[in-house]
Amino acid sequence: MIALVLLVAACGSDTPVDDSAPETTASAADDTGAPDTEDSSSGGTLVLAVEQWPECINPVTSCANATWTIWSVLIHYLPRLMELDQSNTYVASSLLVEEPTVANGGLVTADDGTFTLTYRLNPEATWSDGTPITSTDVWFTWRAGLDTTGTLSTIGLILITEIDHSDPHTAVITFSEPYAPWPTLFSGLLPAHELGPDTDIADKWNDEITVSGGPWIQEEWNQEQHILVPNSTYWDADRIPLVDRVVMVPREDTDSELLALQTGEAMAAFPQPFPGARERITGDLTYEVAEGTYMEGLWINQDAPDRRFDMTRHLRQAVAYALDRERVAEVALGTIVADPPVLQCAGWNPGFGPWCQDDFARYTQDAAKVAELLEAEGWSRPDPEGLWMNAEGEELVLAWNTVAGNKRREDVQALVVEMTAPLGIGWEIINYDPGELFQNRLPALNFGPVALFANSTNPDPSVANLYDIDGVPTEENERTGQNFTAYRSQTASDLAFAIDAEVDPAARLELVHQLSEILAADVPWIPLYMLPNMIIWDATAVSGPGAYVSSPYGGFFDMFDWTVHAE
């Protein structure tokens, strides 16, 4: 469940990430984020401000679909089979003896089409009450995900036909068909001995996690605070917490978080990046910014109701060449981070690890290219200062929608309007409230042809629904399709399905790269930038934050490595 939520709610970068440090760093104080062993000591209480307080903490029901339930609670208690490392690549967690691969027989696709995944568990791994973590817990987690009243994330789990847990240290999982995003499953194991035997756990663990398989044990959780203490039985020596206690408190907006840090009521916060951050974070406060969970860009609707002219491939490419995306990124994010990077990834492509290439880097502002592409399709510019016109006399004016009142996006619109005017491209800005745009217009393809908004990225490239031709929202599929740009490329569609069926990560990566190249050529969307993640802390009070800023596990994931300074 948690894994599936992570796929959407908390994702990462779409450009290659350095495996040792966040991509962008900005500090107001002289602190690099690395634990400082000279001026700090272990022990003490760490106080953290949490931006969205979970309503409940049940690890299967809708509660588990809130990002902050994972970031502030579940990730610290529930062990994972596969785990995202600092570069957001899935690797075997310390709960496994080894990563399942095709070579070691861990990933087997049979002739009958079934797929078998074998996990070999670390025999030293135990729950906090001393009970070993076994394959029965894997089985129980699967069943709880399906049987619990109010369960939501059953994707992947419903393809499992059997889990053989006869050997406590080996879980053999059989899928009815190849399931490529298998690493995303079982990223929050549940203790069968504590929660079972009934596999419907809707009434359990709503406000208390009684047994832990992570570095921390829960001492208290309520709507006012969450107290964690070290799990003395934790088997991973690299993740033994250094502080005596962590207290999380709700501070449910950026200003409150910042005030709590300034007054010393909290030591660190993981807020949404806010405009003016570079100026407002001063004094003893320091911060780290890195690529975050959402990619923002221009979505080009090829079925837009405005049919004055078609959004052909040449026209889409011309728009991409008309933009100075570095300036756009600067206007959008410059007050948060210095020199914000331009996103160069294929739209909707996995945002993590090696999946992303610089396919869109070719699109830099180039007036000659714009003219060449448009003239090749019969557009002309009778007035060199005016707009391009097609053979029917229609001016090249594109209707453009985004969320009304979103300052960042409206600033981008203003800049682009000014930027493309000399190149003969005009815009008609029509913005809507979020409900109207996302719930009514998007599924009906009643927008644009251009829309500006953010889309979450996945730590695993399961993208068939986004590229599938049958995924274009229609009356036939009751508007449930998610190919919102009505992009119809049979090659891309086939490739997307092939990616979802390829269980070998290396082979999948190659297919993903092929798809990325096609998308960069076809320009179904124009990438602009990744919205960053940010962590702020008081450098005089705590050392250590900053290593997992772009992690789907949240900026507090590695707080076992943090230290608080002696008063």
Partner: protein
């Protein structure tokens, strides 16, 4: 009097019904508890449909309302849509208790200060004190509670702490108690109440001081005050025993009728100070589309405001027989 009370109670029922219909309709149109899940491409449509069915959101609006109303009149407030089936009553009860503490402190504080300032203003007419009180009152009435809350956090939370060199601050800027506090600590709770109570009460202090001033001036020009002075009573006795006591009647009833204003201020104040009371519960439930919690919060609050107003009317009649309803 009993007839009057019963009549008022009877007229309240349709008002509460109308409020519940409006809130129910609004809550179901403003926010949907599953909207974030709807936008989540990794949740299968069939799982979402089953979840909506589980929450009862597939039922027609009217049917859901009648079901809610039927349960409500039987004392069953239902279960939360976003807290995995948690009972609504304990959620509301906790918030209500927190709010009552805040509101009582704010009401007592604002009344005491308002009466004192109003009395001084009336007694020392034309003095610097009166001019300062008048200016302060107009300022207090003009300052919106949310802005005042932010300023209090900045000046009495952050700047004062920096000036004194204390961390964490003497007057905490948010929450119910200090991080890590387990068990009840009266001093800690009171420290956390200071700033929200100030933000909530300042406007009321200004209002009550104006009322008190006007009321006392009116009383002080009446015959019985002249008679008291004629009997040679000391001025302090005349003011306190004969003036202030009579002037308090309209002020105290006004305080009761201001309950609605207090509730309005609570919503803002509790948001600013992250105070877990009814105001914050109301906002969270509204934004989250959690209509069972929202309805319970609104209905209980509306009923409470109504009862306080009724008590004010009744007490007014009791205290001043001249205006008792039905007796001319």
């Amino acid at each position: 009097m009993a007839r009057y009370v019963l009549t008022r109670l009877a007229t309240t029922i349709p008002i509460l019904l109308a409020i519940s219909i409006a809130v129910f309709w609004g809550a179901n149109h403003v926010a949907d508890p599953t909207v974030s899940l709807t936008l989540n491409p990794r949740i299968a449509p069939e799982d979402l449909a089953a979840y909506r069915e589980h929450l009862g959101l597939g039922e027609p609006l009217i049917g859901r309302y009648w079901q809610w109303l039927g349960n409500f009149v039987q004392g069953d407030l239902g279960t939360s849509l976003v807290q995995n089936g948690a009972e609504v009553w304990p959620i509301v009860r906790t918030a209500m208790a927190n709010t009552l503490v805040l509101i009582v402190i704010a009401a007592i504080g604002s009344l005491a200060l308002g009466i004192a300032i109003g009395t001084v203003s009336a007694v020392r007419r034309g003095s610097f004190l009166e001019n300062a009180a008048t200016t302060g009152s107009f300022l207090g009435i003009s300052i919106p509670p949310f802005w005042l809350g932010l300023m209090l956090q900045l000046f009495l939370g952050l700047y004062l702490a920096n000036w004194l060199g204390v961390t964490p601050p003497l007057l905490p800027t948010a929450g119910l108690y200090s991080p890590g506090q387990q068990g009840f600590d009266l001093v800690d709770r009171l420290r956390h109440l200071v700033l929200p109570a100030m933000a909530l009460s300042l406007q009321l202090v200004a209002v009550y001081s104006r009322y008190m001033r006007a009321s006392l001036l009116d009383v002080m020009s009446s015959d019985h005050i002249r008679a008291a002075r004629g009997r040679g009573l000391p001025e302090r006795t005349v003011v306190v025993r004969h003036g202030v006591r009579n002037a308090l009647i309209p002020v105290s009833t006004q305080a009761a009728t201001d309950a609605g204003q207090l509730v309005g201020g609570l919503i803002v104040t509790e948001q600013v100070f992250q105070y877990p009371g009814m105001g914050r519960l109301f906002v969270d439930a509204m934004l989250g589309g959690d209509y069972p919690v929202l309805l319970a919060a609104v209905m209980i609050t509306a009923a409470a405001v109504f009862l306080v107003n009724l008590a004010a009317d009744v007490s007014y009649g009791v205290l001043d027989p001249r205006i008792r309803r039905g007796t001319g």
